[in-house]
């Protein structure tokens, strides 16, 4: 019989809205000790921009639309001007995943912008050298009934992120948010920001009913190709679509809707021969997971061989074009390891996959999601976690983060 001893121990608190990001993610920081010599780039993390909405609304150029937004905020709206989709508030699984709900942790008022401090905490906790940030509810602006509002908010966000946020930390990078429903406005923004070193690419928010092969966009693609920086399609959801309104649970809609937009835009992109028209334009597909890729490869190849007369610009199989593109890994479906391995092999994952966390969203992936994959070589893991992104975005491969042990020692440690 062993005598119980009153040994010292520490009590950890429940994770709440106020918990520091470094405490929420401390288990991943412990994992990061084993990958100190890796170079890590997270190509998809998020600003919860409505937390800073007065700053962004205040950056709107058009004085009337700015007043619309300010008037909404004065009446208590935290999402003035936005077209929030049904289900937006369900993402935190009804209060179960609080980092999705909000990050209300204390920051040092003298240590820079609140967002920069919280992003730095997530980078340090996950062991990231760089993080690419995207907006969140603004990704639904493609469905806004007022194109002029999409243009106004895109201009304001791009100004805010490029002037206020990115210069504060060399580890933070951004992709220019394009108001895609108005091609001319996109062209102006590309011209304005193409030379900004912190803007390392361009984003089309995929949730929209605009065919990407329309001639109105050809000049825009040519301009982006000329910059040498990649173009990302960042997917999202839309529960208001008539087909999706049949789905009665958020899980059902969310599982399909992100993939739905990627399937449509990828199909239009390839069948209309855009890879042949813009052969140097590099494409990234963000936040649809990975399982949809081999499905579409097979489906398009199968039909292309019977109906190639409808896609006369193609010089190779649709899947060959897809294999030339880049894919963000999150949310990585991994319940069936054999299917996951087949997906990695189908797409040349070693050179084309880019690690993405999606932090602080509810279905985020930590870097250990990649290092834990049993069939990947050591080099493949290093490529996917950072070296592929370094090549694509022209980032210097250099350790930019503190050691994991130092990150652990500086966290509050209450949770």
């Amino acid at each position: 019989m062993h005598e119980p001893v009153n040994r010292p121990f520490r009590e950890l608190q429940e994770i709440t809205l106020q918990t520091d990001t470094r405490d929420i993610l401390s288990h991943e920081t412990k994992r990061a000790i084993d990958r100190e010599d890796y170079f890590l780039v997270d190509i998809d993390a998020h600003v919860s921009e409505t937390q800073f909405w007065p700053e962004i609304i205040g950056s709107i150029d058009n004085e009337v639309i700015r007043q619309w937004g300010q008037a909404g905020m004065e009446r208590g709206s935290s999402a003035a001007l936005l077209n929030l989709s049904a289900g937006t508030n369900y993402q935190d699984v009804y209060g179960r995943i609080l980092h999705q709900s909000a990050l209300r942790q204390a920051v040092d008022p003298a240590a820079g912008h609140r967002f920069t401090q919280m992003a730095r905490r997530s980078m340090d906790a996950m062991g990231l050298d760089y993080q690419v940030v995207f907006p969140t509810p603004m990704l639904l602006l493609g469905m806004h009934p007022q194109d002029e509002v999409e243009v106004a908010l895109a201009g304001a966000y791009n100004r805010w992120v490029s002037e206020r946020i990115l210069p504060e930390d060399p580890r933070l990078k951004g992709l220019l948010f394009l108001p895609f429903n108005t091609p001319e406005a996109c062209e102006e923004l590309v011209q304005k920001y193409a030379g900004d070193p912190n803007i390392i690419g361009f984003t089309i928010a995929s949730t929209r009913n605009k065919p990407v092969h329309h001639n109105a966009y050809m000049k825009l693609y040519a301009m982006i190709e000329e910059t040498g920086k990649p173009l990302a399609f960042h997917s999202g959801f839309n529960w208001d679509d008539p087909s999706f309104r049949q789905l009665n649970r958020f899980i059902s809609m969310h599982s399909i809707s992100f993939v739905h937009w990627s399937l449509i835009h990828m199909t239009n992109w390839i069948i209309n021969g855009l890879p042949e028209r813009f052969p140097k334009l590099k494409l990234i597909w963000v936040e649809s997971g990975l399982a949809w890729i081999p499905f579409l490869m097979q489906r398009l190849d199968h039909e292309y061989l019977m109906r190639s007369c409808e896609a006369p610009l193609l010089k190779k199989l649709p899947s060959d074009y897809m294999r030339d593109m880049y894919y963000a890994t999150q949310p990585m479906e991994r319940s069936n390891p054999r299917l996951l391995q087949a997906t990695f092999e189908a797409v040349n994952a070693e050179t084309q996959f880019l690690f993405a966390s999606d932090w602080p969203h509810w279905d985020f992936d930590p870097p250990s999601a990649i290092t834990d994959i049993p069939f990947l070589s050591e080099q493949a893991k290093r490529n996917i976690l950072g070296l592929n992104a370094a090549r694509l975005f022209n980032l210097e491969v250099k350790k930019m983060r503190p050691k994991a042990a130092d990150a652990l020692s500086t966290r509050p440690g209450v949770s």
């Binding site: 119980p4 040994r7 950890l12 608190q13 994770i15 995943i97 949770s415």
Partner: protein, 126 residues
């Protein structure tokens, strides 16, 4: 064996919990209907702090005659703990994921002795 006296049993709320850490090992100790259960604070999904999330009763769907759904209700008996990273929900009594019983938290020995809750902590590194 590394046994820790983590305090009197009566001091636990019911349902309630205490998550403790010693030598880098974290364990969640739960009290439900007077019984104690303990698990390593590591989610089998991605390694998140599973014991530090929301405690919430299991959601069930009532099905009437002919398979007609009568809507969602909370269980009156099964209390889950939710991993705060991704929402994996585990039955506190069994440690098993509510949707896939093969996914489970690693159990830790816990007992009440002379009114105190005694936890046998796993060795560091496990």
């Amino acid at each position: 064996m590394r046994e820790f006296n983590i305090g009197p049993a009566f001091a636990f709320a019911d349902p309630g919990r205490k998550v403790i850490e010693a030598d880098g090992v974290e364990v969640g100790v739960f009290k439900v209907d007077g019984e104690f259960y303990a698990y390593q604070n590591i989610c089998p999904h991605n390694g998140g702090p599973a014991c530090q999330g929301k405690m919430i009763y299991k959601v069930e769907e009532l099905i009437a005659e002919h398979g007609v759904s009568k809507g969602l209700v909370f269980s009156k008996t099964q209390l889950n703990v939710t991993c705060p990273w991704h929402g994996y929900e585990f039955d506190i009594r069994s440690g098993r994921h509510q949707g896939d019983g093969s996914v489970r938290l690693a159990a830790v020995k816990v007992r009440v002795e002379s009114g105190d809750v005694i936890v046998t902590m796993p060795a560091p590194g496990l």
